[in-house]
Amino acid sequence: MADNRRRFLARAGASAATLFLGGCTSLSEQPWVVNLLSEVEILTRHAQRLFAGEHALAPEFPKKDIASVFRANGTLNPDTPDYNAHAANGFRDWRIKVGGLVEHPLSISMAALRAMPSRTQITRHDCVEGWSCIGQWTGTPLSLVLAAARPTAAARYVMFFCADNMAQDGDPPQFYYESLDLLEATHPQTLLAYELNGQTLPIEYGAPVRLRAERQLGYKMPKYIKRIEVVDEFKTINGGRGGYWEDQGYNWWGGI
């Protein structure tokens, strides 16, 4: 009797747990649930902006905190014929095109970028997976590049288009891309970085140039940047959610 009851209770408990879990997993596949949960991101972004404001700087660390091995993540080598040719040439002909809603479209060589005023910062890189690494980054503040290009009054977002193809072999190419709003893009620590720990940026970290946006998670900092475009919205660009990982369901706001 007692044994039967125990078995019944155990089975009832397990069934309830399975129903709850199965229910939540299938809920995770319902567009309306995903949309509802995604709405929370707006609240999070506004709250975080309220506290961090425009200018609060991400913490910077002393040299002794620099990781002996900085973990390289995402694409480790774009490995396309075009990219390999640039790499073989030491990226001498690499140019970053700046266009879209700007009065002065630019095409900046690496030499020209390096000739601009630079900033060096020792910061913590936080991956969305949960780990952190500290490294020293040197680059040109994106605000200087944008100021030279002069965004128009309609400008709201800065898009970054990259050389690394994320698609599986045989699928149509899907190049990595990302976006920041103007406020984060013009933050003093937001850099077009070309050096890590005092060395020319290695390929696995995004050579010749990658983004640093220190108040955001790692996926918001694209590597292998080829083109920067200032836009008023990104609904019509690629998957329409503002970035490669965003199109796979990750939050556009990468502040947490």
């Binding site: 879990l21 955001q216 990750y250």
Partner: protein, 286 residues
Amino acid sequence: MGIEPAKVIRRALGLAPRGPHYLFPRHRLFVRISHWINAGCLAFLLMSGLQIFNAHPALYWGQSSDFDHPLLSMTALDNGSELVGVTQAGPWHFNTTGVLGVSNEDGSPMVRGFPDWATLPGPQWLAMGRLWHFAFAWLFVINGLLFWAYSITRGHARHDLLPTGTDIAHLPREVIDHIKLKFPRGEDAKRYNALQKLAYFSVIFVLGPLIVLTGLTMSPTMDSAFPELLWIFGGRQSARTIHFICAFSFLGFFIIHIAMVVLSGTWNNLRSMITGRYVIEGNKDG
């Protein structure tokens, strides 16, 4: 006084006694609503939290991750014929195949920290785990702040939850009573005993804020706004470790809480947290 089995069983199940008894208003509506919202939040938060943890099932101490020396890690080894789940805690290594490191998903062994029955969603799906986690984190914080405001302004925190000197003095006696499964009855059941006060007070006013603050310390934007957070918790990775410990403290609290609810009168306790009314043995004026 002899043992009457029928009476003991009725008491454990929380059914009204055959003798004199009356209904006592034990929990106010606000507390009851707040309690159940919180219970739901904790279930969603724990399971989506384990999903997020699975994206990098290792914990560290300090500002950044020392990948070669985690405090705790769940990994998988391929011994040639099968996958072996290995959980490492400090210098110790355990074979945890089937539960931690390697567990079955749709019938085949998968490399994953916690098993799919413990995570939300079940399959590895970090983006979705984050959506669930942050949505319920907001609800948890708002509900918690409202409860704080209510319990502090209405005297609930001070009169019902804050342990008094007398409570502390009674603590050893109560621990022994609890071990013997002797629970307060009659007039004594109308207020929380010292163990309850200590447990509820520390969960509400220590563990709750601690898990929220360590959660926020993991946010790079919040670290820009409040760099003090890093100083308080010793870095982002320490905060992540403390957040994990807090989550399992909540789980430990939950298990003991459920055990006590069941042992000290299941239905009476449940009813009092649903309708507010709790059966007291004896006469009302007695």
